[in-house]
Symmetry: C2
Subunit: 184 residues, 2 copies
Amino acid sequence: MSRWEPGARDRMTRAAVELFAERGFERTTAGDIAERAGVTERTFFRHFPDKREVLFDGEQAMEHAFQEAIAAAPADVAPIDVAIAGARAAAGLLTDRREQAARRAQIIARTPSLQERELLKLAGMTRAATDSLRERGTADDTAALAAHCAVTVFQIAFARWIDEDAPDLIACAEEAAAGLRGLF
Amino acid sequence: MSRWEPGARDRMTRAAVELFAERGFERTTAGDIAERAGVTERTFFRHFPDKREVLFDGEQAMEHAFQEAIAAAPADVAPIDVAIAGARAAAGLLTDRREQAARRAQIIARTPSLQERELLKLAGMTRAATDSLRERGTADDTAALAAHCAVTVFQIAFARWIDEDAPDLIACAEEAAAGLRGLF
DNA sequence: TCCTTGATGTCAGTGACTGTCATCGACAGT
DNA sequence: ACTGTCGATGACAGTCACTGACATCAAGGA
């Protein structure tokens, strides 16, 4: 038996989501989260660089899925279709966790400072997608535009999935992609 | 003659830009800015809700220009073209101030926390554009997609204007819009 | 047995904000 | 000129997000 209970990081994320849902993000201090998780505030900040980050712990996985799907696409597919395939892959990581995603989205929607962080993560996805497209030979400008479009598809699909009780996130992404094509 | 020198807000924005350029955003305290502007820290926070906001004082004007251009567009123009006309209008507010915009962009590029704030402002522009498109009868989904595309055009045009010494922001926007159409 | 390592606790400190109250020039009404 | 209100500011204390430095202690290896 170790000196401390294992799984501290996981306890902190759970405690944070609970407390944010109960009192809201701003009315929850880092000390509150740490206390509920059975650690000190200092330990909280050793695991998370700031208080917001505790809500964005899985984002890097989506970025990876996005990038790998782009890298894996056949060479003769058009950049916009490659990028959208990446968005679909990222969406695939969420399909099982709809309830959790909805709770998280509700907390973020109520808190401007968390919206900022979410936008930064989406910008990170955009940059990652842009880089992946470039590596397969897409021109810089085209890559950036296609990546932005794909992230837009992801965002709009996610919003509809949560807000309108749509059953399947991937289907929402297809719809959004179709809508995008329909604009031109 | 009044009790305090007038133009306190303007002095604070100037002082902030100077100090951020000299030492960087994080190494500048709100008290530093206030001191150089000849006021107290408390007064700084009466004018700006937070330290970052001092760099984003003119953003609302761009949002208005964006919205009004959308509202003023003829009824028979396609939504994506209306939205891009909005982006062009917003860009028009910057054409005269290239130097200032470049300084600001450099500060922001060095500071993640300022990037977050900028992304939030861009998201505000997207929402405003979406609302304006809806008001002229565009379907919700179409409006959101077109607004996202227009803001993307704005972003990419701005980046090229600053980074690649392009002479004219509006011309950059035309190029970006053409590139976007070329994706489909 | 001793030493190292890794995760944690403890504590003091900085800086971004916020609430509250006092101050004081300007301006209007008398 | 007298007076009262108003708006912008100063002064000050307080909370909370973070950070650096050092101490502690279980586990595992030499």
